[in-house]
Amino acid sequence: MFDPYEIRKDFPILNRRVKGKPLIYFDNAATSQKPIQVIEAIRNYYMYYNSNVHRGVHTLSQEASQLYEDAHDYVAKFIGARSFREIVFVKNATEAINLVAYSLGLHEFGEGDEVLVTLMDHHSNIVPWNIVSEVKGFKVKYVNITGDGRIDMDDLYSKLSSNTRIVCVPHVSNVLGTINDVKLIAKAAHEVGAYILVDGAQSVPHLPIDVRGFDIDFLAFSGHKMLGPMGIGVLYGKEEILSDMEPFLGGGDMISSVSARAREGFNIIYNALPWKFEAGTPNVAGAIGLMEAIKYLERLGMDNVRRYEEELVRYTIEKLGGLDGVEFYGPRDPSLRCGVVAFNVEGLGGHETASLLDDYGIMVRSGHHCAQPLHEFFRINNSARVSYYIYNLREEIDVFIEALKEIVVMTSEL
């Protein structure tokens, strides 16, 4: 049973008070809070299992290696991948996208090729492609969005061509909350022979994910937005594609052999997947923390997580829609969006709004949320953003709405 009141008991930080008020944490799109189970798993690792992985025959190394490999397995099952070989641990979603941009873009794309990104992408899905395009001479094209904050599919279809090498889209916008139909986009990309890379940073923590059902080639996401620790992220890639890709980083553990006799021929043989893409000592504790986070989410059920967050966003939209002096962005239909709502108060910038909400103990993010092209589209500099997770409550939204009403009145008197 999904009971947010019970869930809250697992999150010690939610007992905090800020400026004398109970903490209301509405900044989950930036990072989620961590349940005691995840905190304990990381603590236990360092207390009882800490050892480097994959290069030791002793007991601790074997135990740490087993846990680390189990974590790959858990992630693979959680997102519907075929095997752990399709799961590469990285630092975060940004690094996962950079891995693809460099390993694929730098080695396989060139002049005449095109990469499609959308106006609603996070900078992490825009900037790496632009950096690599400067070196390789391919074009980065931007797919438009509609006024209500969805990908303009007509524009996407018109920009797809035999020159398109990869289509990069966010599964869920980190500003608008829009859930994009990645299965449909994958089909369109594959029809012209292009890959699809999905930024799942805002979807994997909140929605059931099935990479094989969606038929996507790459999925990037971060552990810290889904109850796990910071510093661990995931790149999913289809095995047959990863197998053919060049490594991103070189070093220990990503090779199966290295010979110093370079002049006698090819002297480096890469390791098997996924280790070929995991150079150097990995974040073992982070992987174990992420595995525990996934166990936690699986116990709740991702369908239940999705259903609950849709209720919260429905309630928010209803309440915000009735407020004069507040504008919010993205689809009006809650079934089309996750628990993210960006908004602005008339006469205030996002930072002023967030600063005032902070006085009520309400933590919201402000700024361009690393999505400046999206803000340019809406002709705004920045916004404030609430974003929910499994432990947020309707009562907290009520406090937020009442605070916002007071802020609107106060602003009218400035």
């Binding site: 400026k19 910038g349 996002g350 930072h351 002023e352 600063s355 005032l356 902070d358 006085d359 402000s366 700024g367 361009h368 949320h369 400046q372 803000h375 500099n381 920045n382 916004s383 106060m410 602003t411 008197e413 400035l414």
Partner: protein, 89 residues
């Protein structure tokens, strides 16, 4: 004590082409803010007081923060603060 020791942190605003946040240390925010209120001739009855002066916008938060818009460079920000706190030692 130099007024700069009142300041906990300054940060360029994300999503504002020209803007900075100045955050005062808890122990000194009252002294820092009362000076600003006095310089601008405003009172602290509201959580947020906004003052526009010389093309700049000062958003003064009672809880110890100012958001200054219209400032391009950090060196300009320091000049503005130096001016406000000119004779505070």
């Amino acid at each position: 004590m130099n007024y700069r020791s009142f300041i906990k942190k300054i940060e360029k605003l994300c999503g504002e082409k020209k803007g900075y946040m100045v955050l005062f240390k808890d122990d000194y925010s009252e002294a820092a803010l009362s000076r600003i209120y006095r310089v601008f001739g405003v009172s602290n009855v509201r959580p947020l007081v906004r003052v526009r002066r010389d093309g700049l916008e000062f958003n003064i938060f009672r809880t110890g923060k100012i958001i200054i818009k219209g400032v391009d460079k950090e060196s300009d920000l320091w000049s503005i603060l130096d001016d406000i706190y000119r004779d505070v030692d």
